[in-house]
C-alpha cells in the first residue's frame, strides 16, 4: 500500500540554492552568510589564542590544557610524523592555523543559529588551497632549484622513452590533481553533510505539518531522530576533514622536500 504523503503540491527537497544566502546586497559583491561566519570564526579564534598564550602557566588551566593538546596533536602526529623531525618546525604555524580555522568553521555547521559550514562554498577552500599550493611549490623549488624541482618529478631508473609520459602525468598531479582535490574534498564533504541535515529537517517538518494521516505525522519522528544522529556524525566529519586537510598539506610539503620522489 502506498502512503499518500500529502495532497496537492508535494514535498520539494532542498537544492543547491540553499547555499546561496546573501545578507547585504546581491550578485557578485554580496556580503553572504558564510562570509559573516568566517569573520566570526577569526574573531573567536584570535582572542582565545592570544589570551591563552599570554597566560601560560606551569600548571595548565583547563583552557590551556585543551589548546596545548590541540597544538601538540597538530605538531607531533601531523607535522613531525609526516614532514620529519628535522624540518617540520617552520611549517607548524601554517598547519596549526589551518587546522583551527577549518575545525571551527566546520563546527559552525552544527552550532544552533549559525548552522552553516563556511567551507561548503567553494571560494573558501580555494583560498586556503592557494596558500598550500604556493607553499609546497616554493619550498620545493627553493630546496632543489627550479630545474631540479621539475627534474626530480621523474623517478630515477625509468627507461628513456617513457620519461615524457611520466613527466606529463606528474606535472598534472602536482599542478592540477592535488590542489583541485584538496579544495574539492573539504567543500564537497561539508556540502553533502549540510544537505543531508537540511533534507532530514525539512522532510520531518513537512511530514509533521502536512502529513495526511496520523501515521505519517508520527513517522516524522524517525526523520527528526536521523537529523539528530547525523548531527553527531557531522561533528566527527568536521574533525576528520580538518585533520585530513592538514595531513595532506603536510604530505605535499614533505613530498616537495624529499630528495627522491
Amino acid at each position: 500500500m502506498r502512503l499518500r504523503l500529502a495532497a496537492g503540491e508535494g514535498f520539494s527537497p532542498p537544492t543547491t540554492e540553499f547555499f546561496w544566502q546573501p545578507l547585504v546586497g546581491d550578485g557578485a559583491f554580496a556580503f553572504t552568510r558564510p562570509m559573516l561566519l568566517m569573520v566570526l570564526s577569526v574573531a573567536v579564534i584570535a582572542p582565545v589564542m592570544v589570551f591563552v598564550a599570554k597566560r601560560m602557566q606551569v600548571v595548565p588551566s583547563k583552557g590551556q590544557f585543551l589548546t596545548e593538546g590541540t597544538y601538540n596533536f597538530v605538531r607531533n602526529s601531523v607535522g613531525k610524523d609526516m614532514i620529519g623531525a628535522k624540518e617540520f618546525r617552520p611549517f607548524i604555524p601554517l598547519l596549526f592555523t589551518q587546522f583551527l580555522l577549518i575545525l571551527v568553521n566546520n563546527l559552525f555547521e552544527i552550532i544552533p543559529l549559525l548552522q552553516f559550514p563556511t567551507f561548503s562554498r567553494i571560494g573558501f577552500p580555494v583560498a586556503l588551497t592557494l596558500v598550500v599550493f604556493a607553499v609546497y611549490h616554493v619550498v620545493g623549488m627553493r630546496r632543489h632549484g627550479v630545474g631540479g624541482y621539475f627534474k626530480r618529478m621523474v623517478p630515477p631508473g625509468v627507461p628513456g622513452w617513457i620519461v615524457p609520459l611520466i613527466f606529463f602525468l606528474e606535472l598534472i598531479t602536482y599542478f592540477v590533481t592535488r590542489p583541485v582535490t584538496l579544495a574539492l574534498r573539504l567543500m564537497a564533504n561539508m556540502f553533502a553533510g549540510t544537505l543531508l541535515l537540511v533534507v532530514f529537517a525539512l522532510g520531518g517538518e513537512y511530514m509533521l505539518l502536512e502529513g495526511s494521516n496520523l501515521f505519517v505525522r508520527v513517522a516524522s519522528l524517525g526523520s527528526f531522530a536521523l537529523f539528530v544522529i547525523m548531527t553527531f556524525f557531522e561533528i566527527l566529519v568536521g574533525f576528520l576533514q580538518a585533520y585530513v586537510f592538514v595531513l595532506l598539506t603536510a604530505f605535499y610539503i614533505a613530498d616537495s622536500l624529499a630528495e627522491e620522489h
Binding site: D81, T181, R185, A188, V244, L247
Partner: protein
C-alpha cells in the same frame, strides 16, 4: 514520476569508492589486530588512503549537481 538521472549515475559511481574505503579500513583493522603497537603508524596512512579514495566519490557528487 520525475527526477534526475544524474542521481542514479552518482549512486553507481559511488560503489567503487565505497568498496575502496571498506578495503582500506579492513586492512587497517586487521593490521592493528595483528600488531596493536603499530596503530600510531598505521593511522595516518589509513586516513590518507581513505581521503584519496573518498575524493573520487566527491568528484561524482559535485558533477551530479553541476551537470
Amino acid at each position: 514520476m520525475t527526477g534526475n538521472l544524474n542521481v542514479i549515475g552518482y549512486g553507481l559511481a559511488a560503489i567503487g569508492p565505497a568498496i575502496a574505503v571498506g578495503l582500506i579500513f579492513a586492512a587497517y583493522i586487521s593490521g592493528v589486530a595483528r600488531q596493536p603497537e603499530s596503530r600510531g603508524m598505521l593511522q595516518p596512512i589509513a586516513i590518507l588512503g581513505f581521503a584519496l579514495a573518498e575524493a573520487l566519490a566527491l568528484f561524482g557528487l559535485v558533477l551530479a549537481f553541476i551537470l
